[in-house]
Subunit: 151 residues, 2 copies
Amino acid sequence: MKEKKKSLIKAISAIYRYSQTYIGENIKKYNIGKGQWNFLTQLLFNEDGLTQEELSDTLHIDKANTARALKLLEDEDYIYRQLDPKDARKKRIYVTNKSRVFEEEFHCVFKDLNKILSKDFTPEEKEMARILLYRMLDNIIAYRETQGKGK
Amino acid sequence: MKEKKKSLIKAISAIYRYSQTYIGENIKKYNIGKGQWNFLTQLLFNEDGLTQEELSDTLHIDKANTARALKLLEDEDYIYRQLDPKDARKKRIYVTNKSRVFEEEFHCVFKDLNKILSKDFTPEEKEMARILLYRMLDNIIAYRETQGKGK
DNA sequence: AAAAAACAGTTGCGATAGCAACCAAGTTCT
DNA sequence: AGAACTTGGTTGCTATCGCAACTGTTTTTT
């Protein structure tokens, strides 16, 4: 029985899908879906007031999805859009009070997921995992840029 | 400006999506999509003759998707299904000669992706990334089992 | 042996994702 | 100023994915 080396991408795929399911289950009660968490956490825990384009770039998500996800978040009153007074093409996205009310609860969902994933990791291993993952991400972004898909 | 610790799952999500796009582009010429590579590589590079359920379990993919992906692979003549003579519920999946013809080319797509992701990694870092990722996967699988979603 | 339960695979459904085409607002070029 | 181009966002399309409900086969229970 030949021992095949298991590929990085197989693990990443499975972790991604199971994590999405986990997130979906744990944010369902807020009436938002697993396609929206990325945007909401970015706005809540990093910075709001970004345009949709900036959000897309930061999160590496297609701008069409960004438009759709933000629409849903807006419908549920977690964010609102405001036209940039300097440039009427841009819509700047801000979180609502409702988002702030649930901020801590949201945060827990992601802290918990992180704990699940890195269970029994030493602090050094956690840090190493983070570093290696973000290097992989940078690598594939750099590759895409050589292919002319910079953005 | 507060320095936020970046989460594992954000990186994993982005890597997953970019990798899926990469794979999709590179296997398009074989008339198969990014939803099918996981099954085909498993059958080609590990073992065929598995049932759909076994494939689902190994790849951590819902059995409904397995059925659909295999249907497409069968339509394109990369695999065939054979009823298990001992148990008429089971369909065992085998790769075709057509698959074997392209085996090396397929392999390159995934080797190349692996190279892109782990660019500038030392051999130790590559190994560490693999180990940590599979531990994360095992962790979330174990968590799911505590939640009664063993399979 | 008949009924009930378990198992393997399929289908229906709704949500998410990327690409391409499009529209409206701003910028640049002549 | 007007034409051409760029930029930011939206919509249409198609593919993927997980869950739930279903069909047909096998096993277990009584």
